[in-house]
């Protein structure tokens, strides 16, 4: 069976500026992918290229095994069978909810159409709103209507362009989980574009991190966090600190916090000066530890405190501790490192 979506070395250019640079990835049927990156990284341009709104300068895009985009040849969006959900929902204010959802349904009888609309509305828990108008619904409800409207014509792929940015934060995560359930139940293949990693983690199976038009890593959320392939991904996903060290032998690094053992994600040469990525959850608070560090800053996060600790050489380390352990800034606390995977990058020469 062909992949639902294949993007092969796709590049998008605006004038002479390359905004998407040879990006390749694939999505199987029913999988939810995510393009994650800071604003201006080219994620939206790539999504628009998949939808058919932007031509490709290089490479090609295959939908369901059919080539829909290649340089000089772009199949019109209305012939692609894609569904789109935008940040502003783009519901038609002059149509009621039923007509909005049925907008893209064609070649069916009225009764059939109504039935499809009813079942879709039931899916998102909005039965009974058929005759209402978009402005009578709340933001979250409008978002759901926009989602099922895009799903109504049963597109090959659903494209979500920052679909939750227009909503408040609490609603966002709840809705992201809901949307994931719906997409999974209906076995919809989808791509989400966002700059919010929590949203990406909540919704997507596979996440691609983009920066400056290039795809840095295409992986699961867990791997992005624990096995980042480069510094950009390591910094962009989650929090963390880099502490300097030297590789003493295979699977061992000497640092200011002692020797670290573990499975190396990327094997550096013995003797090479490196920097080790330490996530806040790699640092364990232990009073009797040999390593006592000074607290520079602390942030209360409810269940946990996020402490910023300073090493002798000034390097800062983040440490997540249960909030029962309430220490004041300036105090020394004992810590121990606990790493499954060691992520080491060649040390940058400070200039």
């Amino acid at each position: 069976m062909p992949n639902q979506l294949s993007v092969k070395q796709a590049s998008v250019k605006y004038g002479r500026q390359t905004v998407v640079d040879e990006v390749s990835f694939e999505l199987q049927r029913g999988v939810i992918g995510c393009l994650l990156g800071p604003s201006g990284c080219g994620k939206t341009s790539l999504l628009r290229a998949i939808a058919g709104f932007e031509p490709l300068a290089k490479g090609k895009i295959l939908l369901h095994g059919r080539c829909v985009s290649r340089p000089g040849e772009t199949l019109a969006p209305e012939k692609r069978r894609v569904g789109m959900v935008f940040q502003d929902f783009a519901l038609y204010p002059h149509l009621n909810i039923e007509d909005n959802i049925a907008f893209g349904l064609r070649g069916q009888g009225q009764a059939q159409r109504r039935e499809r609309v009813n079942s879709l509305l039931g899916l998102v828990g909005l039965s009974g709103t058929q005759k209402k108008y978009p402005h009578q619904l709340s933001g979250g409800q409008q978002q759901r209507v926009a989602l099922v409207r895009a799903m109504a014509p049963q597109p090959d792929i659903l494209l979500l362009d920052e679909p939750f940015s227009g909503l408040d934060v609490e609603l966002r995560e709840q809705l992201a989980r809901e949307v994931r359930d719906i997409l999974k139940r209906e076995e919809v293949t989808a791509i989400l574009v966002t700059h919010d990693q929590l949203e990406a983690f909540a919704l997507a199976d596979n996440i691609g991190v983009l920066s400056e038009g290039r795809l840095r890593q295409w992986d699961s959320a867990y791997s992005l966090y624990h096995r980042p392939s480069d510094r950009f991904v390591a910094n962009f996903i989650g929090q963390g600190a880099m502490i300097p060290g030297v590789v003493t032998q295979d699977s061992e690094v000497q640092t200011l916090l002692g020797k670290i053992h573990g499975e190396f994600v990327n094997q550096p040469a013995v003797g090479e000066p490196v920097e080790i990525l330490i996530r806040p959850d790699d640092v364990i608070h232990e009073d009797e530890s040999n390593f006592q560090l000074r607290i520079v800053d602390k942030v209360f996060q409810g269940a946990e405190y996020l402490y910023t600790l300073a090493l002798e050489d000034g390097t800062e380390l983040l440490c997540l501790v249960q909030s029962h352990h309430d220490h004041a800034v300036g105090e020394m606390i004992g810590i121990r490192l606990f790493l499954d995977h060691v992520v080491a990058f060649p040390r940058l020469t400070k200039s």
Binding site: A51, G52, F53, A76, P77, E78, K79, R80, R81, V82, G83, M84, F86, D88, A90, Y92, P93, H94, F103, G104, R106, Y133, H135, A146, R149, A150, A152, P153, P155, L159
Partner: protein
């Protein structure tokens, strides 16, 4: 006016030389000049209204429709026209009422024996035939009140529809 007059004279000269037949003042002596003047004068009024209507149609609305397999021609009559209908009608009404009571440009540019209500009211009033002038004046006032009624009605309707 100068280009209009120049064109009229040139055409008239040429026709007279070629066919021995005078066309008269084809543009400046007819309604064309007047309509052109109205166009220039009231474009701003209608443009503002229509622009406000166009502003409500966001580009994403077109893109959503396209992605659902609805072609651009269909988008015009299923999305653009219904959404613009209100503001187009408002613009039409505003311009209609404005043209109805426009006086100075009409006085200068109208063809001979062509009277609008405003011109008629002005002529009769300047002849001190005030009673006769009143018919035209009242007609203008009663038509001019139309947009006020319609506007206030649509404002109350939109207030009721959108609880804040």
């Amino acid at each position: 006016m100068i280009p209009f007059a120049a064109f009229d004279n040139a055409l008239d000269d040429w026709m007279r030389v070629q066919f021995g037949w005078s066309t008269g003042l084809l543009l400046s002596g007819t309604l064309v000049a007047l309509i052109f003047a109205y166009l220039v004068r009231f474009l701003a009024v209608s443009l503002q209204t229509v622009e406000a209507g166009l502003g409500k149609i966001r580009p994403t609305m077109d893109e959503v429709a396209l992605s659902m397999g609805v072609g651009s021609r269909e988008i015009i009559h299923r999305v653009h026209m219904p959404m613009l209908k209100g503001s187009l009608m408002t613009a039409l009404l505003l311009v209609f009422v404005d043209v109805l009571k426009e006086l100075p440009a009409t006085l200068i540019l109208r063809p001979f024996n062509y009277n609008t209500l405003a011109v008629r009211a002005y002529e009769l009033a300047s002849d001190e035939r005030l009673a006769d002038a009143s018919y035209a004046s009242l007609a203008i006032v009663s038509v001019g009140i139309l947009p006020v009624i319609l506007l206030s009605r649509s404002i109350t309707r939109s207030r009721r529809a959108k609880p804040t």
